[in-house]
Amino acid sequence: MKEVEVRLTVNGRERSARCEPRTTLADFLRGHLGLTGTHLGCEHGVCGACTVLLDGATARSCLMLAVQGQGHEVTTIEGLGTPENPHPLMRAFSEMHGLQCGFCTPGFILSAHEYLRENPRPDRQAMRKDLSGNICRCTGYVKIFAAVERAAELMAEPEAARS
């Protein structure tokens, strides 16, 4: 099958690789760019594990072709922070035990990122609805919601107090 050249911005860097048109964005990120932080669960849009930010808005990367990302900006979990310099959401998930096996965590953090951007002061009831597109089979969600609330606190602190 004919391959196509896909160029897009991933985590602030220009990236390109060749792939078949049928390659999903999720497989492209993992297999072609080596960004395995994006996890693939159900591969049909139900579980939310593969959530990334496409031009700043959450999207399931299993429900997009890589070639559709051409010219767009993608943010994956790797773009949000690193173990040395974690994003407040990453710190909060660790602090509040918002994860157990960790499989759903990258998707959850990116969905929570979008949620907190639009709701800097989270509301537990609204959060339950707005984060319902991500499924976790370990935690029972309570500690995930607590982590998102904690992240909101961390993000409200001035930059200097955080580090």
Partner: protein, 275 residues
């Protein structure tokens, strides 16, 4: 769990898309938001020889209020409508329905017109289209035509579209000022496909009596139906069948209950608007 190979086309204008679709006939599938077609490709429930991607035709990414009509282009994402406070204020049924569609990440990508063209019997937009007497503007090599929503849905995932045609715009006439509307559904989990849905519009006279009422039911038949706007009679207009999720008797009862609640809520809202 990976799509079968296909040829990929990404036209940048509508004319090119129409020519491609006409040439491909039944071998081509149109890709818009991808929230229904991509799962089908991944699961290989669909194996088209070619994909025609609409996403580069940015001229179709619009919506606007033309007086009393909400006009939605083929590439308008559901989330765009969800963020338009004026539209939500003008039609409570639309405001009720959108948060019930999948999840935010799905609505960020999924298009309104794509949902209509996919014609899932449990989907929300087809019910709204039938309730509000929407029309679909369709383009093909033979030219443009308009189809009333009630004539557009032909069966399970089946529409009046002919090979090579695509829906370029949907037009939803909004309820008149002072009318009340509502959309209610029952799903097993938030964001799941609904077991059933009801949507209603109620208009009142100055003395508070009901002058007009409309009711649409979704998820009970293979297409959304306009039902008698009377809770006692509405369930007779649908023909639910048993399946793994619920028996037909339950669904009939559900149609009656949802019809009553939707009509009641629409009427309450009309009374509130009239005060």
């Amino acid at each position: 769990m990976k799509p079968a190979p296909f040829e990929y086309h990404a036209p940048t204008d509508l004319g090119e898309a129409v020519r491609l679709l006409a040439a491909l006939g039944e071998h081509g599938r149109l890709l818009a938001g991808g929230q229904s077609l991509m799962p089908m490709l991944n699961l290989r429930l669909a194996r088209p020889e070619a994909i025609v991607d609409l996403n580069r035709i940015t001229a179709l990414a619009y919506h606007r209020l033309d007086d009393e009509t909400l006009v939605i282009g083929a590439l308008c994402r559901q989330r765009e409508i969800e963020r338009d406070q004026e539209v939500l204020a003008r039609c409570a049924a639309i405001a009720d329905a959108i948060p019930l569609i999948g999840h935010i990440g799905i609505r960020n990508r999924g298009t309104v017109v794509g949902s209509l063209a996919h014609a899932d019997p449990s989907a929300e937009w087809p019910v709204l289209a039938v309730l509000l007497d929407a029309t679909l503007e369709v383009e093909g090599v033979a030219g443009r035509r308009s189809i009333a929503a009630q004539d557009f849905f032909k069966g399970l995932f089946a529409t009046d579209l002919r090979p090579g045609e695509l829906v370029v715009e949907a037009r939803f006439p909004l309820p008149p000022a002072g009318a009340g509307s509502a959309f209610i559904e029952v799903a097993r989990r938030h964001g799941d496909f609904a077991l059933g849905a009801a949507a209603a519009v109620v208009e009142l006279a100055a003395d508070g009596s009901v002058t007009a009422a409309r009711l649409a039911l979704g998820g009970f038949d293979s297409v959304p139906v306009r039902a008698t706007p009377d809770p006692a009679a509405a369930a007779a207009d649908v023909h639910p069948v048993d399946d793994v999720h619920a028996p037909a008797g339950y669904r009939r009862k559900l149609a009656e209950t949802l019809a009553r609640r939707a009509l009641h809520l629409a009427e309450q809202r009309a009374r509130k608007a009239g005060r």
